[in-house]
Each structure stands twice: as C-alpha cells, then as structure tokens.
Symmetry: C2
Subunit: 378 residues, 2 copies
C-alpha cells in the first residue's frame, strides 16, 4: 500500500512600495519591499483574511512547501486545510517583518540612495513600524479588515499593536506567549546577544556586507537565545548530562550533548540570519511598550476586538504573568477575552510545538468570530 | 557625637607546596601555591576551625579589611565577632580556589618548567581537585577536622565534596544555593559564557598573557552571569524599564538602565578576573557530579556529618529543587539534616545579600555542633 502525500506548494511574493514608509524615528524608508506569502482564498466579500505575524527570526514562509524545502513553513502544523488556521475557510497572509533579512527591507537591503546595503545607516525601527508596513501590504491586497491577527512571541506583540493602532481593521487578536512590553530581564538577555555580536571584530560597526560577517558573535547570541526558548525541564529531558559521543579533542570543545546542540543551533543560524537584523529587531522588541504612561485599562480602550491570549506554564522568557497582564488590559477595556495557560514543559518554544491544544483553542475562537450566513443575518 | 569605627585588618597569606598536588586528570601540578586568609583564633584543641569555600569568581578575602580596601571581604557581614561565623569562637579559613587568579595556582601562574604562564597548558581541574588543594592547606595549618565546611554556589559544591572525599575531616556541612551536579541548563549557560570568551580573537587559544586579554568576550560572559544571579523580580524592582540618564549616542549604545548596569558589571569584571580561569572553573562546575552512577542514598553514605542546606525561593540558577535533592541524599543516608528555603526576591545573589536569615540559621546550626564543655563531657 502506498501513501500518497499531497504537498501544497507556495512561493514568496514581494510587493514594492516606491513611496516607502514613514518610520517612528522620522525617517522615510523608500522604496519599501515586503516579502509575503498567502494560503487559501480571499472570499468575494474579503472578510476571511487572517494575518499571521512571525516571531523574532521567522519569515514569511509560515506554511506549505517551497520547491527546495526539506521541511515546510515554520507554522505548517497550524495553517492548512482543516487546521487551526483553516485554509479551506480563511485567507492567510504572512509577511517578513521590517528590518528582517528574508525579503522585506532591512539593514542588508541595498539603499538606492547609495547603491550599497544600508548597514549602519539603517534607521531604528519599532514594532509599530513593522505593523505600519503590514498595513501597507493589507491595503495592497485590498483587505479592509482582518478576521484575526495572530502571532507568538514578537508575532504576538505585532498582533497587539495592530489592535491599538488600527482598531477598525482588526476583528480579533490571537496573542501567544507574548507581552505588553519587555521586562528588565528580557531587555538584559537581548543586550547580551547584541553585545556578543558587536564584540565580534567582523561586525565592523555594521559595515560587513561583502566581507566576512560577525558569525561567531551571532552564533553566541543564538546559543543564549536557544537556552531562553527551552525550559529547565525540557533541557533536562532532552539532554540531561549525557556526554557527546565524539569526545572533545580540545579541553574546551563541547563535552556534553547540550553543548553540541547549542553549537549546532548557532552554526545553523549564522547561515540564515543577518547580524544587523538581529540588532535592530531585538531593539524594536525592547523599546516596544503598549502601556507606557497609560493606565492598563486605557491600552485597548479604542478597540472592540475579541482577544485570545495563550501562555505556556514553563515559558520563563515570556512568563504567564505577562500574558495575564495582557488579559487584565483587555478585560478592563471591556474586550471579550479568552485566556488559557497551557501546561507544557517546552518553555517558550511551546508555541512552535504544542499544536493540539493551540489548535483546539484557536479553532474554537475563530469559529465564534468567522462570518457565517447566520452571523451575517444577525 | 562621633562614631568610632573599629576595622579589623587581615592580609592574604600564601602557602607553597613544592611537592605539588596530583590532579584527577593525572597531571601533577607542582609547585602549588595557595592563597588564604584566616579570621579568629584556632583553639588549643584545634576543634573550632571552619572552612569557607568561595563561589565562582570569589577569592580568599572573605572578611575584614585589607589596607587598600574600599569595602571589606565578600562575606564580611557573615564572618566576624558575634556574626554567623563568629570569630570570637571559631577560627575561619578561606582560600582561593585552584585554577583561580587571586593567588592560588591557576592558568595565569608561571609554569616553572617553562618560565611562562601556563595559559593553554593549564590542566583540566575538578571540584574534587579544588578540595584536594584545600586539604593540603588544612594539613599545613595543623587542623584535623573542620567544625564546618560552608559555602554558597560553587562554594557549596566544595563543601559537599568535602563530606564525600574526607568524611572523617568534616563535622558539618553548610551548603547554600548549590547542587549535587549541574543541570543541562546550567551547563548550557556556562557554555555560552565560554564561547563568548573563546570567540574573542584576543583569547588566542589561551595564549594572551603579556598582550591584550579577551576583555570584550569576558565582559559578555559576565553580563550573562549577572542576569542569572538576579531574579526576574529583582531586575524589575531595581531597573524596570527606566532609561539611562545619559541618552545613547549611537543607536545600540545602552538605552535602558539595566543595560548600563550590565555594561558596568562587565567592565568591572575584566579588571579583576582572568578569562582562562573563567573557562577552567566553569568547566570544573559542569563536570562536578556527586551522584554519577550512584543511587541518591549512596552519595553521602560514608559521612556522619550534619548538614544545613539553604536555598532561596527566587533563585532560578540553582533552583530550590536542586537543594531539595541534596536534602534527600543526606536524609536517605541517615544524616542529621536541616533545610530552609528562604523567601527572597534576590535570586541566586541572595546568598550574598540575605544576611539576617542566613545568620539565624547558621548560628543555630553551629551552636548545636560547636564543642562545649557539656558536649565534651557527654
């Protein structure tokens, strides 16, 4: 008996906005290119569009397959026919963030004014700027209102920012393993990563394009990142104190499996990510602050969106109390809000791993929101 | 009214063992120098000696003042007349660990065989080797039995190792914020620090003595260390999201106070600590494992020592369950064991901060053990 595996393919497209986008810092970034993918079909009434916002080092390839893929998009288990984000019913959009290195304008993009990559001249960006860019893509696609904006981690920040900045354009928000603002500890962890990159002499103040990049510094930053994405328990479960099979040749070579894993993760990362994007995007996360001088009840005062907020019990990078603060902000603004703290040992990574429970929650939530004949008649 | 402040002064002394010390790796490290300090007076019956073992980057200067000091030794609030370790009654010894850079033989020490610092030729060391060196100092001082061996963090590892390796020589153990072995997460965090150092081109495979040291890499390692020493709550309390008063000149200069603090800590550290010592000592902590292939009940089977085990509620680097595992090992071996999990927001740093509660516990514990006329007659 042979199993026929049906693969749905997708290509990353780009939209170019020659007029550019004005940034919070005052800089007009032009032209602006946005890389994005879509899955499913936009309904004639254009009321079934869902925006998926990716996390820190993600990209527009959220689901389905590229011709060259060894594995599908990063949230393939969540997006597709019959899945949490059901492409039989919804039109899903995912774009690479502003400042990234996967097709959307970022520090490695050629600055048309100089003919060279922006490098150190790339302007400071904010989560709000990222959302502003997504709004341009939304207009470009002829969508007036998102059925939902959804994302985990930094993707969740963007989803929350959408509800604040474009309340009319957001019917619901799915914010997973995220926060209204970074804590001192989160800022501190990001700063260690940035310092590891900037300590690398190959960084050259950001002027490394065309020469060797600050690979070792970037790898160190990523190693730390991976520790924060896992939990104490999941690291214990996955590695314990097991020694690497191939013994260390030099005294400070990786001795334990967990060290080998971090090295592997660091080495893989430097092939796919740009150090200047790392600096800019972490800074955008650190300066993001939906509360600011406001009272918590004022944060979502302008929106009538429904909220689904999800946290994971063992996530110490975006711990459940941060999600509970989001919930308090939503409820005190009178928003219909559902919250679940999923029991999981996977730490922050759980939003990329715990599919069954997230699917159940998200399907139920979207079923209440998705336009149906009855809803329309109501 | 003037307040007369009486300062007790102390000097770091050194003991030289020309015969050296055999290490677990098979290497005979000779000669061996040990830097140490003592506080209080050894009783004629030599039964009031307490060994204090310092943590990772500590040194022999645990209490009292050096002539040049701006502040006294690192556990001055715990050691002195009437304090937890009462110098009116006890004779306190503290020595710099093997592999360190504060007077005891380590990677920066001149290798008499070559006339140059050991550098990359310094042999791998273990916590057991550190204790073996302390045993030599003990013999040198004419002490046959410690009333107590006490320490926090890596100091606690040494205290526990003493009970295993020299059960006859240890009357009691005070193990604070420590573990029977490092978890995968602890190893992983150490490995990021090591990689930050070794990624620094000035490290030169450990051959940097006489030239610029790998200061930036070492500072990055220390910044990460400080995050792990604090708790999420204590960082929130101390820094929150407050911005630095002097604004960042360059976009990736420290913007938040917490970033400035980490930079300050990193910069201070590189003036006082040696990168190769950092590598060797963290590796010693990672390879330390009192359980190994044994059952928990076998770990302390050879000792009749009394144990005081202390953890701190917000310590996520050496979390309370690790202390509770020590307690299980002690109790299942039939040892008289007292355990307290002190409620504190200070994270791992609490053992250097929470003096009142530690003092109460330690004084009570030592009063039960300290030789008195009645005890002797009993």
């Amino acid at each position: 008996m042979s199993v026929v595996v049906h693969r749905e393919y997708v290509e990353t497209r780009t939209a170019v906005f020659t007029e550019g986008v004005p940034l919070d810092c005052g800089f007009l970034l032009a032209p602006l290119t946005v890389a994005y993918e879509t899955y499913g079909t936009l309904s004639p009434s254009r009321d079934n569009a869902v925006l998926i916002a990716h996390a820190f080092t993600g990209d527009a390839h959220a689901a389905f397959w590229h011709e060259s893929d060894e594995k599908p998009g990063w949230w393939h288990d969540m997006i597709g026919p019959g899945k949490a984000f059901d492409t039989d019913r919804c039109f899903i959009v995912c774009s690479n963030v502003l400042g990234g290195c996967k097709g959307t304008t970022g520090p490695s993009t050629v600055n048309t004014a100089t003919g060279k990559p922006y490098g150190p001249d790339f302007p400071p960006i904010t989560i709000r700027d990222m959302v502003r860019v997504q709004k341009k893509l939304m207009d470009h696609l002829g969508i007036e209102r998102w059925l939902a904006v959804a994302g985990g981690s930094m993707g969740g920040m963007q989803a929350l920012q959408w509800a604040v900045d474009y309340p009319e354009a957001v019917q619901s928000v799915i914010a997973i393993a995220t926060a209204l603002r970074h804590s001192a500890q989160q800022i501190a962890l990001d700063e260690v990563g940035r310092q590891a990159i900037m300590a690398d002499p190959y960084w050259r103040d950001g002027n490394y394009y065309g020469s060797d990049p600050p690979a070792r510094g970037l790898a160190v930053a990523r190693m730390l990142g991976h520790i924060t994405y896992m939990s104490d328990a999941s690291m214990r479960e996955k590695f314990g104190r097991r020694l690497k099979e191939s013994g260390a040749r030099f005294h400070f070579d990786p001795l334990f499996e967990v060290e080998g894993y971090l090295h592997y993760r660091g080495e893989s990362f430097i092939k796919r990510f740009d150090a200047n994007s790392y600096l800019h995007i972490t800074r955008a996360m650190d300066t993001y602050d939906l509360i600011g001088e406001r009272r918590l009840a004022e944060v979502f005062a302008a929106t009538r969106a429904r909220f689904l907020v999800i946290s994971f019990s063992s996530d110490w990078l975006y711990p459940p109390p941060q999600s509970q603060e989001i919930v308090r902000a939503c409820k005190s603004a009178g928003c219909d809000t559902t919250y679940c703290n999923i029991q999981s040992a996977y730490g922050h990574d759980a939003f990329l791993v715990e599919f069954a429970q997230q699917t159940r929650l998200i399907r139920g939530f979207l079923n209440r929101i998705r336009p149906t004949r009855e809803n329309r008649n109501a």
